[in-house]
């Protein structure tokens, strides 16, 4: 047994040494090799001193919608998957602390204010950037902090796949172009696949309205499973704007009256807007925000009519859709976007 314990300790020491070495090499040669990766974008935002840069913050919808080349020479697309105000709030803090006074573009969608850091704050994005000021505190604030993130060799566990996927994916290909943070896809789904996606969405819309009508009808009962399903459906199909989060957003906007903030609701597939049961609340919010903040400008393209072949899937624009949107947006926001 003694030999076993001794050998085990030796093994652990050797393994830890290899893990530390691997960690250092991986950080240097893989994690920050790709500029368009999420972690690369965060670092870039901190380090960028270009006085003409116009950052675009948003989710994957924004990543495939804002084409920097079509919008302006200073535009850089910082959008990341699953990103909403949980992350954008922090990125805005960083951006607003900079001396430049260019516009800030913020993509809006009906899930913008949902508070779901376990889903939206990806550790893989922030752990390699812990040396940057405020990142650790931010992760703690969002409840995404773990002690192991400070331990080399252990800190990237669970994120290696993300990094490797980025290394493999972040390359231009026949139907994919990467342009200053944006990822543009030429993909057009087949009619049947698109129809399936829409059917699934309409079924969800139908399910939600059926449960809501049961809830409103005192003569009908609603099971616990239905209530649980409703929570999930509300998350997808309802705009939620908690007062404290809207107030925080306004606080950020008001902190730099010299910097125009362009809040842009990108084009959505008609089925997506149709599904938002309280779309009126979004327009009311927009009206209120625009009234209270002279430096906040709303651009609502949610209902912009685009054919199905302008979508990569039922939620994201493809290259054709992005070009159509950017043409309109450039025209409408010309004054804020600088030279092309």
């Amino acid at each position: 047994m003694r030999t076993l314990i001794r050998n085990s300790i030796l093994f652990l020491v050797a393994f830890a040494t290899v893990a530390l070495l691997f960690d250092a090499l991986f950080t240097r040669y893989v994690i920050f090799k790709v500029e368009h990766s999420n972690q690369g974008k965060v670092r870039r935002l901190f380090e960028s001193t270009d006085p003409n840069e116009i950052p675009v913050f948003g989710s994957s919808k924004a990543r495939s919608a804002f084409i920097p080349d079509s919008l302006g020479s200073g535009v850089y697309n910082y959008a990341m998957e699953k990103c909403n105000f949980d992350v954008i709030g922090f990125l805005m803090e960083v951006e607003l602390a900079k001396p430049r006074n260019t516009a800030i573009v913020v993509e809006f969608n009906h899930r913008f204010f949902v508070n779901l850091p376990m889903h939206t704050v990806n550790a893989a994005t922030f752990v390699p950037n812990l040396d940057l000021p405020g990142v650790k505190d931010y992760m703690k604030r969002m409840g995404r902090w773990e002690v192991r993130y400070e331990l080399s060799g252990l800190r990237y566990f669970g994120s290696y796949q993300d990094y490797l996927r980025y290394s493999a994916r972040e390359k231009n290909s026949k139907n994919k172009q990467l342009v200053r943070g944006a990822m543009l896809m030429d993909l057009v789904p087949s009619r049947e696949v698109f129809a399936n996606q829409l059917t699934a969405r309409y079924i969800d819309i139908g399910k939600r309205s059926a449960i809501v009508s049961k809830l409103n009808d005192l003569k009908k009962g609603v099971s616990v499973d239905e209530r649980r399903a409703l929570q999930g459906l509300d998350l997808q199909l309802l705009f939620t704007g908690p007062a404290e989060r809207i107030a925080r957003f306004e606080e950020l906007v008001a902190s730099r009256p010299d910097r125009p903030v362009l809040l842009v609701y990108t084009p959505q597939h008609a089925s997506e807007v149709e599904g938002i049961a309280n779309y009126d609340e979004i327009t009311a919010l927009f009206a209120g925000l625009e009234k209270r903040h002279p430096n906040l400008h709303i651009f609502n393209y949610a209902k912009m009519p685009l054919p199905d072949d302008h979508f990569k899937n039922s939620s994201h624009l493809n290259n054709a859709g992005a070009r159509a949107f950017c043409t309109s947006f450039r025209r409408d926001a010309d004054v804020f976007l600088g030279p092309r």
Binding site: S8, A123, Y160, Q161, N196, V224, A229
Partner: protein
């Protein structure tokens, strides 16, 4: 506390050090404290339910042992009612309440009994069944009543198998808790290999497959029939790796204390019929049901009645999994096909075919498909979704260009690579000589580190 959390990686070594440093007579105190800590990491107040079960069954055991005749039976019934009562309230109340309410409303009557607004206590069905098996065994005079309340509490609460089994029997576990055998190097090797295999199955295979599965099962029917067919397979593998991964970690953790828990799986994937599958899958539950429900119920009954009882038992197994129509149908389908396959295999002129190599392969493929199709009821959000998916598989089974472009097949290939890796690692583990075990350990650590997710998804079977 989840096995796949960083906390557990600190918790287990601390418990092990304390366990091996303490004199044998005090170990149970430390283990009981650790088990309470482990369970209270979920929802602390639910420990009161466990305490209730422990006290009821501890005193029931003593009272059953000390009495005879009708009184003895009475104490057993009291224990069963108390245990099943806890299950009925916390697990099945809302289901029955809603369905009874629907009947009342359909008949035009008012119904205002409220639902229970509580989360299901984690692992309730597991520890209830484990505790119940003890009183039944005492009643049958196969086990003596445990006099030591602490040891009995530890039997119900022993943390490696507290929330998702294996459902142990008192005769196996209590003597080991009282006096664990000394740890041998072979135990350490077995334990480390098991724990690593368990983590590999959970954080590499199950949690990675969950991403594809959740995507399609979450929005029905957003994919083609082919996609759903593949994803149904993926889900079967996911649930196997999730549950058997948990069990492997449980077995390994316990073995590091010298305690041998029962194996819960015996390579169920390749089974010749559904009955065989169930004899290899979640063995501790199926043997529990066999010993305490099926045998007493079916003893002496004619063949047709035994068939009906088998179906009923499978419906119960389905309902054990969850209080919903999905699980009832899942159980019913399994029961009907177990009996049907058994009857079919008994047809005289088919016997030579059944025994041939081709026949065996065909039956195994058929069984695998049954398992996969029934698993759709296990995973789907409701019965409507489950039937919609099955209909979709049969009516929209095709490859589309968009799938090829979107990388669906690359993801699918990745899924199959993971499944292949699982099989290889399991085989490699069996073949390995002791002195080369470090190769296996290094390989598994590298795979877990590089391919693992830190989603910290709860184990699927925790909800039961």
């Amino acid at each position: 506390m989840l096995f796949n959390s960083f906390q557990y990686l600190l918790f287990l070594p601390l418990v092990l050090v304390a366990f091996h440093l303490l004199p044998k007579q005090y170990r149970w105190v430390m283990l009981l404290g650790a088990s309470c800590w482990f369970y209270m990491a979920f929802v602390p107040v639910y420990i009161l339910i466990l305490a209730f079960t422990i006290l009821v069954d501890y005193f029931s055991g003593l009272l059953i042992e000390g009495s005879e005749g009708r009184r003895r039976k009475g104490w057993l019934i009291a224990s069963i009612v108390a245990n099943l009562g806890v299950l009925a309230v916390f697990k099945y109340w809302n289901f029955f309440n809603y369905n009874i309410g629907e009947v009342f409303r359909d008949l035009g009557f008012g119904y205002g009994v409220p639902d229970l607004g509580m989360l299901l206590p984690i692992g309730l069905s597991f520890h209830t069944f484990q505790s119940l098996s003890y009183t039944i065994e005492v009643y049958r005079k196969r086990e003596p009543a445990e006099k030591h309340l602490g040891i009995f509490a530890l039997y119900v609460m022993y943390f490696p198998q507290l929330v998702a089994g294996p459902i142990e029997r008192a005769g196996r576990l209590i003597p080991q808790l009282r006096n664990a055998p000394p740890l041998e190097p072979e135990d350490v090797r077995y334990a480390i290999n098991k724990i690593l295999l368990g983590y590999f199955k959970k954080v590499v295979v199950a949690d990675n497959l969950a991403v594809f599965v959740d995507q399609l099962f979450g929005h029905v029917p957003s994919g083609t029939g082919l996609q759903y067919y593949v994803v149904a397979f993926m889900f079967s593998v996911q649930v196997f790796c999730d549950f058997s991964g948990y069990t492997d970690i449980a077995l390994g953790s316990a073995r590091l204390m010298g305690i041998r828990l029962m194996e819960n799986f015996d390579r169920p994937v390749w089974s010749g019929n559904l009955g065989e599958f169930w004899s290899k899958w979640h063995i501790s539950l199926t043997t529990w049901v066999r010993d305490y429900v099926f045998k007493p119920w079916a003893a002496g009954k004619p063949r047709w009645a035994a068939g009906l009882i088998t179906v009923a038992v499978f419906v119960l197994i389905g309902f054990w999994h969850g209080a919903s129509w999905n699980f009832l149908i899942f159980g019913l389908l399994n029961g009907v096909f177990v009996v049907g396959q058994y009857r079919f295999a008994a047809i005289k002129w088919l016997k030579p075919f059944n025994k041939s190599r081709f026949g065996k392969v065909l039956w195994s493929v058929w069984t695998l498909h049954l398992v996969v199709f029934f698993s759709i009821f296990f995973r789907a959000a409701d019965v409507h979704d489950a039937f919609a998916i099955i209909a979709h598989i049969f009516t929209d089974f095709r490859v589309s260009a968009a799938e090829l472009q979107s990388g669906f097949f690359a993801e699918m290939a990745m899924g199959f690579v993971l499944i292949g890796l699982t099989m290889c690692t399991a085989l490699f583990n069996r073949q390995l000589r002791f002195k080369y075990n470090w190769l296996y350990v290094v390989g598994m650590l590298v795979l877990i580190f590089l391919l693992g997710t830190d989603a910290q998804n709860q184990f699927i079977y925790f909800q039961f």
